[in-house]
Symmetry: D2
């Protein structure tokens, strides 16, 4: 245990103090996001990709406990060693774990127990932060931003996953009510042109980034142009109306097979039919807004749409180059009390509309090596079979987006808030 | 609505009054059985055969509402018409319904809402029973016993299903604590002999029976003998120790394939290994009691065990004939505060040990015709691919067992409390 | 080796001589049945139930080698010990074997090699039969009829299976040409009534029977009537036209689920649609004959059709009792040069129309015990999940049918030439 | 029909004459490759990726007929229009087709029929080539090389696929006998270093290339080194011995899941165990040669092995740059009479050892657009979920390899002759 004396000697310096405060704020926000949900809502798993909200609350706590408190807070008491089995997501280095597809079978520990776990971990974090500046473990400077980013990712997943859980309910259940933001003028699609050439890519340093955003490296781009805004629901409805889902030549081979097997004819959460498309949102089923970014497309749909237009998906470095001039803060970031769905104008400044599929397969940047140990499993071991997405959506936490950020999902993922932006060769 | 005047004119006659009281008692008991469970426990579905406890509470209420209150209580207000979709089990005549494998995905309505549903239905039943004797719908005399029997079946399922739900929890969760009953002397297996010949079978009338227990009919039996008690854990452990699970010649072809695919080497809830067998019970994991009836065998295991002994499973009519002399009330029936697992001596009197597999495929008795309409779907449409079980288990409700009762499950069912009793040709 | 001297001493007695001749005739006929097929046709397996014709030719040879020649012909040289792995069907006592679903993957040994195997085995059989009467192994008297019956079953399977193989070919391939037999008058359906009562069932002795046809035993039947002929294509088309495939109340629960999953709307080999039904036969696709027995129904279809008529399927003992008065020789038995499909009038005398589903689950007769060793696996280990069929079809070998014969298939089997005959309680 | 007069006027010019001769030679070679096989061998499909050899012979003929003869040979008579259904591989623009997984079910047309089809198409090609130089359709200059390359790809597949077909045979069947080439000294692994920088990649023009090898484009490479030879069996056996298959941290997440499900512990065709590894080859099962390139690894195995060494897989452009200095003709190319398996020294010159996995996902080069129509489906629609492989194997046709060639397979593909070469950052 940390003694009173030790804790009282010296306050943290200002940047560390700010970091500590961000940690506690992100912890508070996770719980806040689940307040509209019952314990029963929070236990359900409706597909393998989806985790129960309760599991997210527990897993994020486990992450802090396992990687921050146990190694760095002397005397910290592990809440329950069995949670290493239940709430480890995929860290092979930590040991075996509850099978992913069976997270919804675990009714015990119940929500109350998990909230107690959160409180225990929060108490540990507060103790840790109370350490005098001199005794502050240096490793925290790197670890805490990872923990924040990790929990923010799970905040986005809480919303993404509960959306699916509520959507399969035969009755029109929703996460909550929210006013639709006032809309601006219809966004016009313009082409932003770039001359190409040699440039530097990846995270520049200064602020947190995941390891997969680096190393910063040189690459050559051919001249290209990129659209000033994401593709809209109205444009996507026109693709459907033009027989997009029945035209094999527009589709990647795997995509054509998939939509055939599923007899798929529209995006994941769309309902109704031509002329009366509606979509399921966290605020219930609503008429689609023709000017809002289309969302919940898989890679195959994004690719087929781009093919239909005669243009293409951007490369990840094209997107990064184009987005650099914009301010990520310009997005309408996920506000638990706000409207949790894209509206017209979202994504005009590249950030905060939808996660935009690029045609770049997710792989290692030149010189990239995954770290050692469990934390090294965060990104590198997924570099196969996935595509990079850029931008961030209406569900993405505020300080979690930047031009170098590389989100990644397999091409068939639909339950994420995913769309696209067109590009073309110049 | 039923007017006060109408209700006050005349009390029900005594048998109807007793029937009405049994209805209300069975309703109360269902809820009582779930009291040890949290709302989260009650929402989980761990295999397709298992339904969430919450669903059982709602479905049994729906059954009363749909088949008793709506047709027979003037002015009854349906609680929520959408429940016809959610809580219909398999009545094609009523309409489409939530897919069985997806009952665990429905977090809303929550438990509180479903308890309100139960209260609403119970209120309706009370109103119905308050009807003067003269205005009592005659149909109730036949319908109420079906409703009671139906809800009792689901009481057994609540326990059976929650046992599976808790058993998959990686931690040793249990339904509750209970004292193990004092045990008598070790039960000796004796052969009870019958001369065979022509006899009558099926329900004799007098008291409720399901339609599949009749018509009463004549059949011829060859001489046979049947064991005085079910097979015990100790006997079954000897079968395992003798290589029972590795000896193809003992098994039905489908059974041998199945245990091969699953690499199965012991009964469903057994854990540990030879010499240290333990089993999961509603009261947690316990050492097996060598003298207690073995349970949670599938038909293939029961059949292979019988083959190993050189004897065989009984025919359903052999079992019925032998059991007639015994009093069903002699069983140790499911007491929610009692010990919910077989103990030595259970089943000695044929009833209340385990559900005992017979080698009779479940089919129609001569002259049987399924009823018309939804209620006619209760039994007849399942007469394919299942076997008859007799006897009743430690989870079976008190007045739900009799010599003519025909339980039925597919041969691969393991999650029920199923065992066997040996028979032989004389 | 058997010496010339030994062989010349004494001829076989007449019954043994006749038996030996039947063995050689059945061997010849198997090969004759495959003459219209190429080696390539004979290697294909199109579903797990189907075996390549080449495999049937080899397996039947292996059966003689393994159960007759090796034990009883001194000096017999096994053709290739590896064939025990390849051509064992399901005899666990003999050892491991090629997985059933992968019989079509074995291109080597090729057809020529397998024909050499047949010749080798035939040579062995001839040697065996040349043994003087005195040295004839007594066991052959029981074994040879089993071998004949076994090979005859596979003859039926050769035709049944190649029908499926050719049917999946996108082009209209057929087994061969054949003239349609001249048709008699339209068969009228009459009810043949029986008073019921106590009677004896099962094989009477006198001639070969499988073990599952006995023991002969007493049983009680209630009064019933049975139709004088099988259900026809025309009657079945009326069931379809009346919405039979869309009426849940007619179907067993498992059947309703199955036709829903498959979106099934007609019998297995029917094509076209209402008013223009055609069916695939071994002689190619043909217009259905409204007066011919309907074939290739599964149990669920047979049961639903019976329910639609208000009648029912017969019990196996009802069928046996009714058929006894008829002469099995009256059927139009499978003639490789004949018309291999039911025509009007087939089955009028109970035998030789289609295999007729009964509602009796396939189980053991009272007192039945499976034999020891591999031959004991022939029937007993399949007594689970199947139904008894009676009668025999246009593909069934001539001397392979009798009133006591019990064919059995799982309820979902469609690739067999299966139909039904109606019955009713009197 | 082409008249004699027309054909006699003028010979083809030399390059066109050479091209025509190459077409006919490649046609001859395809058939030659199947000479060791029976018609039965050539009909079997043992996994979805595998096609029957017979199908390859037919499909390649169909390709010439559909894309060369029908459009360009006036009066050409299509052999059988139904073959468009049977022998179309994946050209959506041409129409529907036999499902890929069911190619092995088609016994008719038989091999003889397909050889007649080949002869018919060859006759058409000869007629086409007999056209006077003046009437030669210009489009052929581009189409014929595609047809040659296409048929060569299928030649490699014939060998690859029949290897699998024969390997599943429980007896040690092989494609043929062949002498093992004399081996040189043990190949030493040296690092070949490159300074990186800006360079041009993709096909330079001059000779045939697939569309996916272009456009030629600029890219920037960081300094790197690449191994002088592929990884050997001996090195891979050391990885196994060191617990490579049991060390999660070496594996991509999908790979770790896959080897876990399959309980995989060695490469696809390896048999035996540590210290006595053997492998199945087209010449039967043989002891592994520790100095020969390891083959039949999937991407996950290649990646895990590289991780274990501390090095990595090369990028496709690194491999291309390094290979440029070498002569593809230096490889030991697939000789149907030669040894169809890698031997020590194969691949030292980059070409002709094994197909070497790179860590580059298969995607479009800058400026790439798939062609219009069916031929445009050749490459572009597969740009998802696959990785680029370079080099060519012992089964690859002689003139089918070059530094710019991009083979591609999904990461789980094992039935191809695939291995790896190490690279590292400098």
């Amino acid at each position: 245990m940390v003694s009173e004396t030790a804790r009282s000697t010296a306050p943290l310096n200002a940047p560390r103090q700010a970091l500590a405060e961000r940690v506690l704020a992100v912890r508070t926000r996770s719980r806040a996001l689940t307040m509209p949900l019952s314990a029963e809502d929070m236990g359900v798993q409706t597909m393998e990709d989806v985790s129960p909200a309760k599991w997210h609350l527990a897993h994020t706590s486990w992450f802090w406990e396992r990687f921050v408190l146990l190694p760095h807070l002397d005397g910290y008491r592990e809440f329950d060693p069995r949670f290493n089995y239940l709430f480890n997501s995929y860290y092979e280095a930590v040991g075996s774990r509850q099978p992913r597809a069976r997270r919804g079978e675990i009714s015990r520990p119940g929500l109350d127990h998990i909230l107690a776990y959160r409180a225990h971990v929060d108490g540990g974090l507060e103790q840790l932060f109370a350490l005098s500046g001199a005794r502050w473990p240096q490793a925290l400077d790197a670890l805490l931003p990872i923990g924040i980013a990790h929990e923010e990712q799970h905040q986005e997943l809480i919303l993404t996953d509960i959306k699916h859980v509520l959507s399969v309910n035969p009755f029109a259940e929703c996460y909550g009510e929210a006013a639709v933001p006032a809309r601006g003028p219809e966004p016009v699609r313009e082409w932003i042109s770039f001359e190409g050439g040699q440039d530097m890519f990846g995270h520049e340093g200064g602020g947190f980034a995941f390891d997969n955003e680096g190393p910063r490296h040189r690459a050559w781009l051919e001249p290209f142009a990129i659209a000033s805004r994401p593709v809209t629901n109205g444009e996507y409805a026109a693709f459907i109306a033009d027989g997009g889902y029945r035209t094999a030549s527009l589709w990647l081979s795997d995509g054509w097979a998939r939509i055939g097997e599923e007899a798929r004819e529209h995006p994941f959460y769309w309902r109704g039919g031509p002329g009366e498309w509606r979509e399921y949102t966290l605020h219930g089923e609503r008429e689609i807004d023709a000017d809002a970014p289309v969302s919940h497309l898989d890679y195959f749909e994004a690719s087929a749409f781009a093919e239909w237009t005669g243009f293409r998906l951007p490369e990840e470095r094209e997107w990064e180059l184009a987005a650099r001039a914009n301010d990520p803060a310009g997005g309408r970031w996920a506000d638990p009390d706000g409207f949790l769905h894209p509206v017209p104008g979202d994504g005009d400044g590249f950030f905060g509309g939808v996660w935009e599929w690029t045609r770049s397969a997710y792989g290692a940047y030149p010189g990239y090596r995954a770290g050692k140990g469990a934390i090294g499993e965060y990104n590198g071991k997924f570099m196969c079979g996935q595509f990079v997405l850029k931008g961030g959506s209406a569900l993405t936490p505020p300080d979690h987006v930047r031009a170098s950020y590389r989100n990644f999902f397999p091409p068939q993922a639909q339950w994420q808030m995913t769309g696209l932006r067109l590009a073309r060769d110049s």
